[in-house]
Subunit: 351 residues, 3 copies
């Protein structure tokens, strides 16, 4: 019984007769979608791929900007800091010249100046005016990103078996690719994902996530049994939020970064538009193991299994012989059996 | 015989006596090369590294733009869509206001306007004029990229053995590095690659690939036997096209992405140059395993091997005793042998 | 004795009873810090995150510019090359029209023109004036980057055990995160690093490294024993310079790349500021293995161990019986023992 169980374990569940290899992968991504916004600062504005994908390309991930704080027309100069508990001042004595806190936008000049009609803050040398990121737009500025789509092209390779495959399967037609959207049930092999659906499948709300940003993992599992036909080696997609946070432990939530577009005046003065971009970074995580029959692990596992089997037999004997209640009865029977078969099958039994 | 064969398998071919570790790697790349183009839209123009490498740096890959569709001086506005089967219209009734297809450049306003003298298409709010990417330049715009060179610096580390090495070998001189070009036969350890040669070594044509773009894998294999001297642990380069496609299954070929350069008018109006960049992304894929003698796997393999050997002996006996034609002859001989040596070497035989 | 030793090896040191899995990881980084420079070319200038982090975001790494060579106001045109041994000329005969060397900034026009009052060099079609990178600023331009900080957020996942964890530990408070700085001894779990300390912990000098740039690896080791409580699965940080070079073998040191900011004249002429950026790229390298009790490897290792043990016994016997001086004494004793216990425990002994 134990033998059978062990063999099933090793060979059926764990595939102990196979040699394995880890996947080597290459990923490209392409987003599609257009939306419009209409705000007082920026006016009516169309957003397309070149505007909201930053940077334009990355190796295994893609960032879609969903929200932003724009500070237009910054130039190098002197201006008051944003008021917070370290920058509000009453006189120059409160501002140490040359100092720069962790959250400062610039280097303090040592003067205390009016921030607005009522509040005075330390003056800094910085890109002026300084960014005010206290209020994150909610709902998200580009909330329509929920309906954008993402095409993921993935090519994998198992070097040990020289086996390669794409996630665009051989039987996929151009017509299907132009119209399909991934769905775990109806279209499990369509490589085009609706952003909202990715987030939803991971159990989160796109509109919530869009406000402060986040990281979504698009996991592609290429576990393959290469003893079977290559057509059965298929990608399996799953989605997971990678920046999950506890509700009661809200330390540095979301995902954002700052970048600037630099412009030059006719007079040669440099100015810039600073953008604090909140958004969702989609990391494409490809993993998997391929197994193929190989004589070495098979033999090693058979060897171990048999050695174990020998021990198991002995252990059973010991248990039966010394621990059971009706020990004498069993002891006799055992010895009898040994005597009977001693020479003919000696080797096999001891194993 | 079987013993010898098994031992050779495990210990000589599979290096069963070694503990293994996977490589940890760091890659930097640098492209070199200049070319000129002369077209009606852009005039005479020189292209250097800062122009064609986008983005300027990536972790394990490098994108070289080889072809492009430039749409200069786009501004936010209203303009007719490119004609295709969903956008051509006869009257406003054909254009649903606010709609946006997957391949749209903007949001439909609901009006049907003249695209040129003969065709009317739906008007969109978009960056205008919209990009026309129906004709990809052929031959590629920057076809001279074939002669650009790529320096790959790779530093690897095997954490378990605390072994690290660079692909610029200790005996490489500065003079050699300034002039060498990788060649599998003559210069297998030169880390400078001619782009054309990479593609050619992978069995493809650079000029074909340059038109629609693609992904090339530069594979660096660091399989090392650390029981031998570190000088024998050498990188082996190979090249593979990662976006291979069947000729009869031409779904979304090549590699391209869009990005924009933003400018600002003296009046403050933002305009941009949209570039659809086709090119070759070179992914540097570092893989490998290092092995070093270790007592644990050695013992485990010896143990398994011996257990297997015991079984093999028994199996041979069983086959010989019960299946062979001259069974009686063998049976006698076997038993005789057992009787003779029974006590002195009993343990060894049963194994 | 040998048995005990082997068992300790396999089960205590090597954790042979565990199934293992490799880590899947997601990383985000955020730099903070502001500094000012005052030079004749650029004047007084403030540098913030949007200025010195290039590109604005990457997947597993972050580049901090520490030094730069800026060539402002380049336009497409004709100008003399930088003088070096291939470009200095006496007459047009020395300059081959259309040629372009590996280190050229442009395509030679075939004319030999004055570079300055005394030297003549070949004229090239290029972005003019060409960059002069012969003198790298020393000390580094943004030497204050030593005090910038880097927040690393890392989320790991062991797919086989469905175990995930962040490097911001559950008991970390917001107040601690706002003020802490990583220190191997006092703050080993603070995810905020001072750039200077990273380089120093790796045994290098930040100010030296800042001049020509380099690559620093921030290694996060997540080796975990998941049989114990999840709270004991903790990240361990270490730092290593990845572009280490021998002092006597100074081939292509440091790390730098070129990028350009493009501007447009009121007349529509494109000009650019070319920046050769030297700096430190921080690669976040996450590795580790998790182990958890599993019946299969336990059994395989027990099997192998026992088989080996049997062999060990036999080998000991052989050594004792045939190689020792007092062989007859031992031989007798051994046989006596075997005879005594032959039937009762035969199987166990032979094992």
């Amino acid at each position: 019984l134990m033998t059978v169980l062990f063999c099933r374990w090793v060979f059926v569940w764990e595939k102990g007769y196979q040699e394995t290899d880890s996947v080597v992968s290459s990923v490209t991504t392409k987003a599609k979608g257009v939306t419009v916004t209409n705000t007082s600062t920026l006016g009516f504005r169309v957003w397309d791929v070149a505007d909201y994908v930053i940077p334009a390309q990355e190796e295994n991930s893609l960032f879609i900007m969903t929200n932003m704080i724009t500070t237009i027309n910054q130039t190098q100069g002197l201006c008051p800091e944003l008021p917070d508990k370290t920058t509000v001042c009453k006189s120059d004595a409160n501002c140490a010249a040359g100092s720069s806190g962790v959250h400062s936008n610039g280097i303090a000049t040592g003067r205390c100046v009016l921030f607005n009609g009522t509040v005075k803050t330390c003056e800094v040398a910085a890109w002026c005016p300084v960014e005010d990121d206290t209020h994150v737009p909610d709902p998200a500025f580009l909330k329509a990103a929920e309906n954008f789509t993402l095409l993921v092209k993935n090519n994998i390779w198992y070097p040990k078996f020289n086996f390669s495959k794409r996630n665009i399967l051989p039987n996929t037609t151009t017509a299907y690719l132009k119209s399909c959207i991934y769905d775990a049930v109806t279209d499990p092999f369509c490589p085009i994902f609706r952003l909202g659906k990715i987030v939803q499948d991971a159990g989160h709300s796109f509109q919530d996530m869009a406000v402060e940003g986040g990281i979504m993992g698009i996991q592609i599992n290429w576990d393959c049994n290469l003893d079977r036909t290559a057509a059965l080696c298929l990608p399996r997609y799953s989605f997971r939020r990678l920046d999950t946070r506890d509700v009661d432990h809200n330390v540095s939530p979301g995902y954002n970064f700052r970048f600037a577009k630099y412009y030059s005046d006719p007079t040669g003065t440099e100015h810039r538009t600073l953008i604090k971009a909140y958004g969702i970074r989609f990391d494409i995580i490809v993993f998997g193991k391929a197994g193929k029959f190989d004589i070495i692990p098979t033999m090693i596992n058979i060897g171990s299994g048999l050695a174990l089997l020998g021990v198991a037999t002995v252990l059973c004997d010991v248990i039966v012989l010394y621990c059971m209640k009706k020990r004498f009865y069993y002891r006799e029977k055992k010895y009898k059996y040994v005597e009977d078969y001693e020479q003919g099958l000696g080797g096999e039994m001891d194993q």
